[in-house]
């Protein structure tokens, strides 16, 4: 006799509770940090500056409210469902506007659902944010396998492709037959893969990082294109050590990321020049950029620490970009033909020109360049980000002429 729970496809409500000992242990470790000598340069060119790391540690220990993550996440409807052997954690906020457009948004590394939660209001409840009900979304925010409260893959093969298929299954389980997808960073990789797989129901995607530019050279015919190519070259010469390490040796870097909170924090805030200086300015000068406040940054780092996911999140780079991963031997996915939207945020690692977007995706329905925001666009500028998502998908709303 079958019970009410269908094994394998059941969706279970989820809420977070961190044991007090885990938080005490974290605080003890932060307080006991053994610091290196100061960098020998006046800028970021040797990595995370000592003053930034120490200001972050001080705030973490003295002022940060460790109850914040529980409070913020448990205020939202969270669920877990097993897909392909991994328990996938996700936030699912249905708009009160019934014909809202379902949207699945994927975070990247060093991100998490924390990046996305200030977009929940503007996207699901547009009328409270000054726009019409016709722009409402039903929002699904999953945690990538190995990130946050999703379980860690116990076998290799969880590449972008497999995650993308899991997301299509998730949307299917949620009963969404017509939906859109969005992502930046690794989330852009997942979203790009979804568009190439073109599962039934997925009608369009939007990204804020141009995935094909990571996979090979782009045209350099115009000044704008050359400037973007130069930005990519600079990144790969002076700031992608973390990328190479995680793509090749995720286990090795996993040890300090699990064992030392300051190691984890510095590794995470060293992502890109623009985000680094914004975060440094928040901690050192108490001048946050947009929504990238000290508390928000620490919510994300604390989540990584308390879930013990330093190694498993690093492995996602090995799967996606590593030469030894099964994905490296697979044939590339077919071209994406479904409608594609893109927003260039000015502080992103490279400023993507429209021409690159059009060279990468044949069916571009939306391109815009905004004046604020960087790599963590949804996190830094949630209102602007929501405006972009609304505009990108506006023509796809049912019952509207384009």
């Amino acid at each position: 006799m079958s019970t009410t729970v269908e094994t394998g496809t059941a969706i279970q409500p989820f809420s977070i509770e961190f044991p007090e000992e885990a938080i005490d242990d974290l605080r003890r470790r932060v307080g006991a940090t053994r610091w290196p000598s100061k960098e020998l340069v006046p800028d970021r060119s040797q990595g995370v500056q000592l003053a930034t790391a120490q200001a972050l540690a001080r705030y973490w220990l003295d002022e940060y409210d460790f109850g914040r993550i529980e409070e913020r996440l448990n205020a939202l409807p969270q669920f877990v469902t097993e897909i392909d052997g991994v328990d996938v954690h996700f936030i699912h906020v249905r708009s009160r506007h019934e014909d809202a457009l379902p949207l699945i948004m994927t975070h990247g590394w060093p991100g998490s659902v924390i990046e996305m939660i200030d977009s929940v209001g503007p996207l699901t409840d547009p009328t409270a944010h000054g726009v019409g009900a016709e722009d409402a979304f039903h929002l699904v925010l999953p945690s990538l396998p190995g990130y946050g409260f999703s379980t860690e893959p116990a076998q290799i093969g969880w590449d972008l492709d497999r995650t993308a298929r899991a997301w299509a299954e998730l949307m299917d389980r949620l009963g969404y037959t017509r939906y859109v997808a969005q992502g930046g960073d690794v989330g852009a990789g997942v979203t790009d893969a979804m568009s190439r797989q073109a599962p039934e129901g997925l009608i369009a995607i939007h990204t804020n990082l141009l995935v094909p530019a990571l996979n090979g050279p782009m045209p350099t015919n115009t000044d704008e294109e050359r400037a973007a190519a130069a930005q990519i070259a600079t990144f790969s010469k002076s700031g992608n050590g973390y990328f190479v390490e995680m793509a090749t040796r995720p286990q090795t870097i996993g040890y300090p990321l699990l064992d030392s909170p300051v190691s984890l924090a510095t590794w995470m805030v060293d992502h890109d020049t623009d985000a680094y200086y914004k975060i440094a300015s928040a901690f050192v000068d108490d001048k946050p950029s947009g929504n990238l406040t000290r508390d928000h940054i620490l919510d994300n780092i604390t989540l990584y620490w308390l879930t013990g996911t330093g190694a498993s999140t690093s492995r996602s780079y090995w799967e996606a970009y590593g030469a030894d991963a099964p994905a490296a031997a697979q044939k590339p996915l077919p071209a994406s033909t479904i409608p594609f939207g893109f927003t260039t945020f000015p502080g992103e690692i490279w400023k993507t020109p429209r021409s690159w977007v059009e060279a990468s995706y044949p069916n571009v329905i939306y391109f815009n360049e905004v004046d604020k925001g960087g790599h963590f666009a949804a996190w830094e500028e949630p209102e602007l980000f929501a405006t972009e998502i609304r505009a990108a998908f506006r023509t796809l709303r049912e019952g509207r002429s384009s």
Binding site: R34, L40, V41, V48, G241, Q251, Y255, P256
Partner: protein
């Protein structure tokens, strides 16, 4: 009146002192390690394996004798002298044999003077090790600035060239008017720089790693006809070396990885052990199966890691890659002068790549010695001290004859 400092040279004796408190703190941290889940592969394709590192941690706390570093180093004459603003730590062992050839040996990363301790006997006292008194060396083994007991640079610019110049000053202060130099890994970079600077007194150099690769050979690679098929395989290995995460991270953001290396002993150990596939496999075998390769014993490995931890040099040692990477970029635009001094080279079979003679000759026109050793890898002196010493004797034999004494 100072009793210890030689005022003429500013050289003072040095002994290592490690407090019990430092050791207790280290053991407590190892015991408190928060471990990641195991890698998802059966080999080292995702990095240092969990089972190996847990066994290393167990041995470190339960079986390793923390008095070893003090005992081993303090058994040797150690000194400190200030050069170019930094206190340089060095071991200096003079041979009992008159006419011994002075030799300065430079370690690399993740090495230290610990790598070199077991070559001291064979080099300074050859008659006790199957050699003749004609083969004797006076040995100088300095710690690179930022490594071990040398002080950490407080400004950028301590690249191989500056270190090489400091070594020439050191040999000068020691009163050596004719000497030779040797190095592998970063030590090969320093020795290469010395060879090109050709300070008065330097008679020749020996390498067990071809640091000249980025400086000259990659440019030569643009002319593919100079490469045979076998050489192309080797070139692939060379390119592979520079695609390693540790080189990339330490070359770009040494400060960032520095936090990990200072705060977590297991983080430090993992980072240091992940240097190359060959030494990794050998060291893992020593810990997991109790089968050591040559002299790469568990204790010797932990001496070196413990030294890095106790001297808090995880960040400062990483910075040398940042310096080297800057210097290498600059040398593409302004190539360094050719080396005119006699150069010698030994290929160790398990090194990251096996430089063909042709390449070495291309980098060092005045090649006086080239040999392929029967055993040994990247840490040649550490792993096979006797073979390494044999190589030193053979490599520098021809340079002894022309000396003025």
């Amino acid at each position: 009146m100072s009793t210890t400092v030689d005022t003429a040279t500013g050289i003072r004796p040095f002994t290592v002192q490690i407090s019990q408190e430092q050791i207790d703190n280290l053991c407590r941290r190892i015991g408190d390690t928060r471990w990641p889940s195991a890698e998802l592969v059966q080999d080292a394709a995702q990095g240092v394996q969990l089972e190996f590192l847990r066994e290393l941690a167990r041995y470190w706390v339960e079986d390793y004798d923390f008095g070893r570093i003090e005992a081993r180093l303090n058994a040797l004459p150690q000194y400190m002298t200030n050069i170019d603003g930094l206190d340089i730590h060095f071991i200096h062992v003079k041979s009992d044999h008159d006419g011994a050839l002075p030799l300065i040996i430079t370690h690399g990363w993740p090495g230290s003077v610990i790598e070199m301790l077991d070559v001291i006997g064979p080099l300074t006292d050859p008659t006790a090790h199957g050699g003749s008194s004609d083969d004797a060396f006076d040995v100088v083994i300095p710690s690179i600035p930022g490594f071990g007991f040398s002080s950490q640079p407080t400004e950028a610019g301590w690249d191989s060239g500056r270190i090489g110049a400091a070594w020439a000053e050191l040999m000068n202060r020691l009163g050596y008017s004719e000497y030779v130099a040797q190095g592998g890994d970063q030590g090969a970079g320093v020795t290469d720089a010395m060879g090109r600077q050709a300070p008065d007194g330097l008679l020749g150099v020996h390498f067990n790693f071809l640091d000249a690769i980025p400086k000259e050979l990659l440019t030569a690679a643009l002319t593919p006809r100079i490469f045979t098929h076998e050489e192309r395989d080797q070139l692939g290995k060379v390119v592979g070396v520079f695609m390693r995460g540790y080189i990339s991270e330490m070359g770009e953001h040494p400060q960032t990885i520095g936090y990990s290396l200072l705060d977590s002993p297991i983080g430090l150990a993992a980072w240091m052990l992940d240097h190359d596939a060959d030494s990794y496999a050998k060291i893992a075998k020593a810990f997991l199966e109790g089968e050591q390769t040559g002299n790469l014993s568990r204790d010797n490995i932990l001496d070196n890691i413990t030294l890095y931890w106790l001297t808090s040099t995880g960040a400062s040692t990483s910075r040398i890659y940042w310096e080297t990477s800057k210097a290498a970029a600059a040398s593409f635009k302004n190539p360094p002068p050719h080396m005119r001094l006699p150069a010698a080279y030994t290929v160790f079979p398990d090194e990251l790549f096996q430089a063909p003679r042709h390449w070495v000759k291309h980098a060092y026109h005045h090649l006086v010695y080239f040999n392929e050793a029967p055993k040994g890898g990247h840490f040649a002196a550490w792993e096979e001290p006797e073979i390494f010493a044999d190589e030193m004797r053979a490599a520098f034999k021809s340079l002894r004859n022309g000396r003025s004494e």
